[in-house]
C-alpha cells in the first residue's frame, strides 16, 4: 500500500522582493502510512510548523515551497489544495486560546466547517456538531457549543479544537504541539483522547512536538528534524533505544530521566543557526561533540543503515 502522505525534497524559501532571505526547510523527505502515528521532533525554529503548514497547503505570505507534497495522490503545493483542507487533512494548533475566534460561539465556528464541507440540514448540522463534541468527551457538549471561547478552559478548548479538526473525517490529522500550552495532567488526557480517537477512526497522525516523552508514549515512528532537515528517522523504540545521530543522542541526554547523576546537565551546547542561508557541510557541525573535519565540507544525506532506521551523519557506519 502506498503511503497516505509523501513529502519529497520539500524546501521552503522566504522571498522578499525577488531575493531569498531564508530557507528554513531544506529538503525534507517524509512518508506517513495509513493509520500511522508519526512524530516530528526538534528544537524550536527547526521548521516543524512550516512543514505542517506546507502539508496543509497553507504557507505564510512570502514563503514559497518546492519539492513535492502528495496527500492521497493530491498535490498539496498546488493552488487547489484549499479544497482538501478540513476534508482530507486538518490541524490542531498549539494554542487553543487564540485558535478560536473570540467573538463567535464554539458551535457557530464548528458549523462553519460543516457548512463548507457537507450538505446538511440545520438539524443534521446540530446533531453532527454535538456528536463530535461528545466524542472528544466534553462534559456538557450542548453547553460547550453555546459557549464563547473565553468561557472554556484551555483543556476544553483543545478538545473542541480536536472535534473541529475531525468534523469532516480527515485522513490525516496534524497536531502542532497540541499540549505545549496545557498543564501536565490536562496534556496527558488530551494525548489519551487523541490515541483513543485514532484507534476508533483509523486516521493518520502527524504529531509535531519537541517532547521526546510524548513521542515515546504514542508514536509508531519518529522523524528528528534539525535546521530544516530530517536527520534521523525510524521506529520510535529503535530510534530512542539506539540513536545514531549525535543530535538525537543529545536530545535524549537532555531528558531528565536519562541524565547521569554524576554529570552536569547535558544540554546541547550552542543554539540552532537562526538563518540557514549559505550553510555548507552539516548544519549541526558547530554544536556537535563528535565533529570531524569532513563534517564541515560534506552535507550528509539521510541514509538507511538498518531496516527503516536512517540518519544523516557521515560518521555512521553503514552495512
Amino acid at each position: 500500500m502506498s503511503a497516505l502522505l509523501s513529502v519529497k525534497d520539500l524546501r521552503i524559501d522566504f522571498v522578499d522582493r525577488g531575493r531569498v532571505t531564508n530557507t528554513p526547510v531544506r529538503g525534507i523527505d517524509l512518508e506517513v502510512g495509513h493509520g500511522e502515528i508519526i512524530g516530528v521532533v526538534g528544537e524550536s525554529g527547526c521548521g516543524k510548523t512550516l512543514t505542517g503548514l506546507a502539508v496543509l497547503g497553507l504557507l505564510p505570505g512570502g514563503a514559497t515551497a518546492t519539492g513535492s507534497v502528495l496527500l492521497d495522490g493530491g498535490d498539496q503545493l498546488a493552488p487547489n489544495a484549499a479544497n482538501r483542507r478540513g476534508e482530507d487533512v486538518s490541524i490542531v494548533f498549539q494554542n487553543p486560546g487564540t485558535a478560536f475566534n473570540p467573538v463567535f460561539t464554539i458551535g457557530a465556528q464548528l458549523r462553519n466547517v460543516v457548512r463548507r464541507h457537507r450538505d446538511f440540514t440545520k438539524r443534521e448540522e446540530d446533531a453532527h456538531i454535538l456528536n463530535y463534541l461528545t466524542l472528544v468527551q466534553l462534559p456538557d457538549p450542548a453547553r460547550a457549543a453555546a459557549s464563547y471561547p473565553h468561557e472554556l478552559s484551555g483543556g476544553m478548548l483543545q478538545r473542541a479544537m480536536i472535534a473541529m479538526a475531525l468534523l469532516c473525517e480527515p485522513k490525516l490529522l496534524i497536531l502542532d504541539e497540541p499540549t505545549t500550552a496545557l498543564d501536565v495532567t490536562v496534556a496527558k488526557q488530551i494525548l489519551e483522547l487523541v490515541l483513543d480517537l485514532q484507534r476508533q477512526f483509523g486516521f493518520s497522525v502527524l504529531l509535531i512536538t519537541h517532547n521526546l516523552g510524548i513521542v515515546h508514549d504514542i508514536c509508531d515512528r519518529v522523524a528528528v528534524l534539525y535546521a530544516g532537515r530530517v536527520i534521523e528517522l525510524g521506529e520510535t523504540a529503535e530510534v530512542l533505544k539506539s540513536p545514531k545521530h549525535p543530535y538525537t543522542q543529545g536530545l535524549l541526554d537532555a531528558l531528565p530521566g536519562n541524565r547521569d547523576p554524576n554529570m552536569p546537565l547535558a544540554a546541547i551546547r550552542g543554539t540552532v543557526p537562526s538563518n540557514l542561508l549559505g550553510i555548507t557541510g552539516c548544519a549541526f557541525a558547530d554544536r556537535c561533540p563528535l565533529v570531524i573535519d569532513e563534517c564541515r565540507r560534506i552535507d550528509p544525506a539521510l541514509l538507511e543503515s538498518t531496516n527503516g532506521h536512517a540518519d544523516a551523519c557521515i560518521r555512521t557506519v553503514r552495512a
Partner: protein
C-alpha cells in the same frame, strides 16, 4: 477504513444547540451614563456662560449697531434680556427656563432659539450624515482591501489617500473642490443650500466630500490596522486550515475588526463638529456651524448655550451608542458587563 464507514451523524442526537440566555444589567449602565452626561452638561453650560461674559465686546452695542441711542433705550434692552441682573442670577434664569424647555430668544436674529436652531438643523445633519456615509462607504472597503492585499498598488493608493486626507486642511480642500468642480468644471453649485429636496442634496455634495476626506482617512487607517492585526491572528490561519474560503475568512476578520473600527469611528465623529463649521463657512451653507460662528461673535448667549448643549448631547449619545455597539460586538466585554 473504520473512520469512513462510521457516518455517525445519521444516528442523530436530537438536541438543538441552545443559546444560553445572558441577562445583562444594561439598565444600570444606562442610568449611570445619563446621569454623568447631565453633570457634564451642567458644568459645560456654566463654563460657556462665563467665558462669553468674559470675552470682550458688548451685546447691547452689537444689537444697536451704529445707531445713536438714549440711556433709557439701553436700560430697557438690558432689562429685557436680564442683563441688569448679577451674573449668577442671569445664569440661574437661563437654567430655570432651559429646564422647562424654553431655550430663550436669539438677540441677534430676534427669534426663539428653538426656531433659529430648528431652521438650520436639517442642513447640518444632512451634511454630517452625508459626509459620514461617504467616508464609511469608501474607507472601510478600501481599508479592508489594502490590508488583504497589503503591499499591492491598491494598498499604496490607500496609503497615499490617507496621508492627503489627514494632512490637507478642510478649508483648503473645500476651496480646491470649489475651484475644480464648481468653477473650472461647473458640475456643482458654488454656494448656498439650494431650494430643498434633491437640489439641496446636490448643493451638499462638495461640502460633504470636503468633510469626508479627513474623516475617511482616519477610518481608512483604523480599518487597515485592525484588519491587518486580525488577519495575522491564529484563528484566521485556523479558519483557512479548516478549508474556509478566503472571502469568508476576510468577512469573519472584518467582523472582529469591527470592534476597534466602531470605537475609533465614534471618536472621529466628534472631529466632524469642528470640520462642519469650516465646511459650512467655505461653502456659505446656512447650517448650525455658521450659526455658531455668528452667535459667538455677536455674544448671542442663548444660542451659543443651546448649540453647546446640543453638540455635547450629540457627542455623549454617539459615545453611548459606540459603547453599546462594543458590548454587542464583543462577547468578552458582554461577560464583564454582566459580571458587574
Amino acid at each position: 477504513m473504520a473512520h469512513h464507514a462510521s457516518r455517525r451523524w445519521l444516528e442523530v442526537i436530537p438536541n438543538p444547540i441552545a443559546r444560553a440566555s445572558r441577562a445583562r444589567p444594561l439598565g444600570r449602565m444606562l442610568v449611570v451614563r445619563v446621569l454623568g452626561t447631565l453633570g457634564i452638561l451642567l458644568v459645560l453650560s456654566i463654563i460657556v456662560f462665563s467665558m462669553l461674559h468674559l470675552a470682550p465686546g458688548d451685546i447691547v452695542k452689537n444689537l444697536l449697531g451704529n445707531r445713536p441711542s438714549s440711556p433709557d433705550a439701553v436700560a430697557a434692552i438690558r432689562a429685557q434680556y436680564h442683563l441688569d441682573q448679577p451674573l449668577y442670577m442671569q445664569y440661574l434664569i437661563w437654567l430655570g427656563n432651559t429646564l422647562t424647555g424654553d431655550f430663550g430668544q436669539s438677540i441677534r436674529l430676534q427669534d426663539s432659539v428653538a426656531n433659529v436652531i430648528g431652521a438650520r438643523l436639517g442642513i447640518t445633519a444632512s451634511l454630517s450624515g452625508l459626509a459620514f456615509l461617504l467616508a464609511v462607504i469608501v474607507a472601510i472597503p478600501l481599508g479592508v482591501q489594502s490590508a488583504v492585499r497589503s503591499g499591492s498598488w491598491i494598498d499604496r493608493f490607500a496609503t497615499g489617500f490617507g496621508i492627503v486626507g489627514l494632512s490637507a486642511p478642510t478649508f483648503a480642500v473645500g476651496l480646491l473642490l470649489l475651484y475644480g468642480f464648481a468653477f473650472y468644471v461647473p458640475i456643482f453649485p458654488v454656494y448656498g443650500s439650494g431650494d430643498g429636496g434633491l437640489d439641496t442634496l446636490w448643493h451638499l455634495v462638495l461640502p460633504a466630500i470636503t468633510l469626508a476626506l479627513g474623516l475617511g482617512a482616519i477610518i481608512l487607517k483604523l480599518t487597515r490596522t485592525a484588519m491587518l492585526r486580525e488577519l495575522e491572528s491564529d484563528y484566521v490561519t485556523f479558519g483557512r486550515a479548516r478549508g474556509l474560503p478566503d472571502r469568508q475568512v476576510h468577512l469573519i476578520a472584518l467582523r472582529n475588526a469591527a470592534i476597534p473600527i466602531v470605537t475609533g469611528a465614534s471618536l472621529v465623529l466628534t472631529f466632524l463638529v469642528g470640520g462642519t463649521v469650516l465646511a459650512e463657512t467655505t461653502f456659505a451653507l446656512p447650517g448650525l456651524g455658521t450659526l455658531l460662528q455668528g452667535s459667538v461673535l455677536f455674544k448671542d448667549i442663548a444660542v451659543v448655550q443651546a448649540l453647546t448643549l446640543l453638540v455635547a448631547v450629540t457627542i455623549a449619545t454617539i459615545a453611548l451608542l459606540a459603547d453599546l455597539a462594543y458590548i454587542f460586538l464583543d462577547p468578552r466585554i458582554r461577560a464583564k458587563e454582566g459580571a458587574q
